[in-house]
């Protein structure tokens, strides 16, 4: 059976992609941010996952307001970068883990989830940036992906606890998948930021740092919070942080934190990263 080897969390701010594209990686503004991801990249190189399940939200690029899915799961052969206004970015397309995607969709339906099933869809910075942060900018991505889109823009957005539940179903799908492939799950989005209204520019480094602790040690608390508490604590767009709960829900109760990184502000956002392994099957490496 397939195996879950790690849970990764990261912000997916579009400016990160723009900074890479413009060659700003080593400028004073960006270097400390990018350097913080080196241990995460090393972890990926060492553990060589075959499949990355990436949870993110579309930002008005693949979906318009006419039809907003609460959860959408991709099962395409290929996911091309979408034109967000500046033309599609010059990064390789993502190859889909097609067969696992369908298996996951079957498992979701059997477990009373109601996903939209996407055989053809383009993807925005929500998945691009996390992939670049952990895998760099290869000529071809060395992993196949399963994109999970969550509506965190138009209300009603899903409950945090529903995201957490979805993670449990994802774990079940991985462990019932008859290959020996190695899976990582990436929760993306956040941390605190607000782009709209007079509170624009709100960041909450203290809450962000607490979140990076709690996601490892007390995820039930985070899953029990209301949507409104997310907005209050992390800002109107920071509420997308609840997508990390899908990743966390796929993991065991007890995890080991391998790496962790926090930087503020990346553009207008508190930016964070975490690498976790299930404690029961963790590699012998020293914790961060």
């Amino acid at each position: 059976m397939a195996k879950l080897i790690g849970g990764l969390g990261t912000s997916h701010v579009p400016s990160i992609g723009a900074a890479i594209d413009k060659g700003l990686r080593d400028t004073p503004d960006w270097k400390p941010f990018f350097d913080g991801y080196i241990p995460g990249q090393d972890w990926v190189k060492e553990h060589k996952p075959d499949v990355a399940v990436v949870i993110f939200n579309d930002h008005g690029n693949s979906f318009f307001l006419d039809k907003v899915p609460t959860f959408a799961v991709g099962c395409a052969e290929e996911y091309r970068p979408v034109d967000e206004g500046w033309g599609p970015r010059a990064i390789p397309s993502f190859k889909g883990a097609v067969d696992f995607s369908w298996h996951f969709i079957d498992t979701l339906i059997e477990n009373r989830f109601d996903p939209m099933i996407c055989q053809e869809i383009e993807v925005d910075h929500g998945i691009q940036v996390p992939m670049e942060l952990f895998w760099g900018r290869p000529a071809e991505w060395p992993v196949q992906v399963v994109p999970i889109f969550v509506n965190v823009i138009q209300y009603p957005i899903p409950l945090p606890s529903r995201c957490y539940e979805m993670g449990r179903v994802l774990r079940q799908a991985i462990e019932s998948y008859p290959t020996d492939e190695r899976f990582v799950v990436l929760g993306t989005g956040g941390l605190s930021h607000q782009l709209q209204g007079a509170r624009a520019g709100f960041v909450n480094p203290e809450a962000d740092r607490a979140f990076l602790n709690d996601i490892a040690t007390d995820p039930d608390k985070l899953a029990g919070m209301s949507r409104e508490q997310y907005v209050e604590m992390f800002g109107s767009e920071g509420a997308e942080l609840m997508m990390w709960l899908v990743m966390r829900g796929a993991m065991d109760r007890d995890v080991v934190v391998r790496h962790k990184h926090y930087f503020v502000p990346a553009s207008m956002t508190g930016a964070g990263m975490i690498v976790m392994e299930n404690a029961a099957t963790a590699s012998p490496a020293v914790a961060a």
Partner: protein, 117 residues
């Protein structure tokens, strides 16, 4: 039942609820259109005509043409859509933030984002 978000009970934090999604439909659809190169060209060539294609009201048109971000958001514009205007007419996201916050840009960077400017 938890309290429903989307009713602006958090100060200065407009949530994109049914009211805004409906009210901002035209502005957001117009902005979504800018993800196609031919529409970006049309916007550049004759912004007013491009906006008319999406049936914007005079109030909405005025907000877009004067790059009044605060007003666009008040009218239901959502940042993820209207940000595409900045792909055609460049402006930094932090300037858009500062405008909505009613602050000078440097002041915004310093006092909201904690930057040393």
């Amino acid at each position: 039942m938890e309290e429903k978000p989307g009713q602006d009970r958090i100060p200065d934090t407009p949530l994109f609820d049914r009211k805004r999604s409906l009210g901002g439909y035209r502005i957001n659809k117009m902005a979504m259109g800018l993800s196609r190169p031919e529409n970006r060209e049309a916007f550049k060539q004759d912004e007013s005509a491009y906006l008319d294609r999406f049936g914007l009201t005079p109030e909405e048109k005025e907000a877009v043409m004067t790059r009044n971000w605060r007003e666009m958001v008040r009218l239901g514009g959502n940042l993820f859509f209207i940000l595409k205007i900045s792909a055609v007419d460049p402006v930094r996201i932090t300037e858009i933030g500062a405008h909505q916050a009613g602050m000078e840009h440097d002041d915004f960077l310093r006092n909201r984002l904690g930057k040393k400017v």
